[in-house]
């Protein structure tokens, strides 16, 4: 993308655009034993997260759904970040990610620890887009808790 987009460039970082166009783990793993649906009623974004959890560890993870670039990239990069992690680590990562996209100063400072996910730091300048970035994560949380009802961001 062109370089003169200013803050827009902070939001739509290369890695985010790339994942939004070619999301990873965009599938339902056959071994999945946890699942949840997420929905953002404001923009119609939908997200299903599938997990194969064994002995407290996320062995496999995938997602399906439709949404904006931010929500697709967030879901895609979330699946990459979580594969092989324990469910506690996943919960902690969600907390750190949430702090990052909502502009928490501490989280911004330590963004590097989030690895690739640090790319979502720019979302904090776009409050209307925080829900796009966190939809997959909220759905993940619900899948881990085996909640029946669809998660809604509203």
């Amino acid at each position: 993308m062109s370089a003169d987009l200013g803050e827009l460039g902070d939001l739509y970082q290369e890695v985010i655009l790339e994942h939004s166009k070619a999301p990873r783990n965009f599938r339902k793993p056959a071994s999945a034993n946890h699942h949840a649906e997420g929905f953002n009623p404001l923009c119609g974004d939908r997200c299903s997260v599938y997990l194969d959890v064994e002995d407290g560890a996320i062995k496999d993870i995938g997602f399906e759904g439709s949404g904006c670039a931010i929500s697709r990239a967030s879901a895609s990069m979330m699946t990459q970040a979580l594969k092989g992690k324990s469910t506690e680590e996943a919960a902690k990562l969600f907390e750190e990610f949430h702090n990052l996209v909502t502009g928490d100063a501490e989280a911004m400072k330590n963004a590097a620890e989030l690895g690739k996910l640090a790319a979502f730091g720019g979302v904090s300048k776009f409050p209307a887009r925080v829900k796009c970035a966190t939809l997959a994560w909220h759905t993940l949380q619900s899948a881990l808790e085996d909640k029946e009802e669809t998660v809604s961001t509203e």
Partner: protein, 428 residues
Amino acid sequence: MTAVAQPVVREPQPNGVAPKSAPALDLARIRADFPILAERINGKPLVYLDNAATSQKPRAVLDAIANYYAHMNANIHRGVHTLSVRATEAHDAARRTVKQFINAADTREIIFVRGATEAINLVAQTYGRVHVGAGDEVLITAMEHHSNIVPWQILCEEKGAHLKVAPMDDRGELLLDAFASLIGPRTRIVAVTHVSNALGTVNPLREMIELAHRRGVPVLVDGAQAVPHFAVDVQALDCDFYAFSGHKVYAPTGIGVLYGKRALLDAMPPYQGGGDMIASVTFEKTTYNVLPYKFEAGTPDIAGAIALGAALKYISGLGMENIAAHEHDLLAYAAETVGAIPGVELIGTARERAGVLSFVLEGVHPHDLGTILDREGIAIRTGHHCAQPVMERFGIPATARASFAVYNTREEVDVLAAGIRTAREVFQ
């Protein structure tokens, strides 16, 4: 300072073609009437194209609110003191302005409510609860806003009645034959939008109302997206109820109108109980007040009603015909300009449209488009526009929607088109 309509000068055209945009409105002066249009957004001039969500307010409206609170604030109908008399008179005058604006037969047919949503709920909960019973039907269309769906669903659920939905075609035009065939012996009320907020479709109301009346069925019209754009005459339409919101027609939020034919309103039970809506109260029996007060329980939004009057006077001064012509030209220009951008698909291509251009851009989710346009100072709405069934009908989760008001210009459409091209570049 109010912009006034210049007389329409029809200069002879060499080939008999009317000028592209008749100079009936002085747009620069109109824009100067709206203080918010001078705002800069992200360093760019505001291009406000979200008028279907809510319109901006002219100084005449802002002044009416300030003037009310500075010089006449008091409760109405309750005092003999001077301020109360002033407030009551101004409130009454606003009702007369509304009556004239939609050409109702009688000021008693004008009920002040919070907005279109409350107006529709009022009819569903009063007329509806009396006339709709188990096995009966309520007929709506496939292009309704949620606020003209859910109140009827609530009623049908409570009564064991059925909600019927008249379909539309791929352009977003109502299928009139299907609509006619859905009006049956059990149909108790028809509730239809005048103009679709998601597609811009203008429905053929005269025919629809005639079809319903031939079978003795009353019709409620959701006019939220019509009243801002062209002259509405409730007597010519012969509709039984007409609902609209002040905030979409240059007035503040919190005020709206339900028009109802007097005979129907008279026979309806009240909506809410409280002060102002009663003639006398004892613990044994309450006698309800006359129209319109029967439906206006409690202290109303006095300043809002007065400001609505000011808004309607303001646009009447510009001329609804001039506004309609200007917006028609803008919409046609926008459809042509935006429609020509590679990857753009217009959603809603009905032959009769007003105010709204809905579209999707290949490879760019509407939400991302909205963010990118916002950086350019352009405000549009993205999402399902409170019309999820419409999105489902077209098999899309959301659209981007540019919607127009009297103060918008062709130059702003050009800025929008440039913004859409930028979004394409970002995501290509």
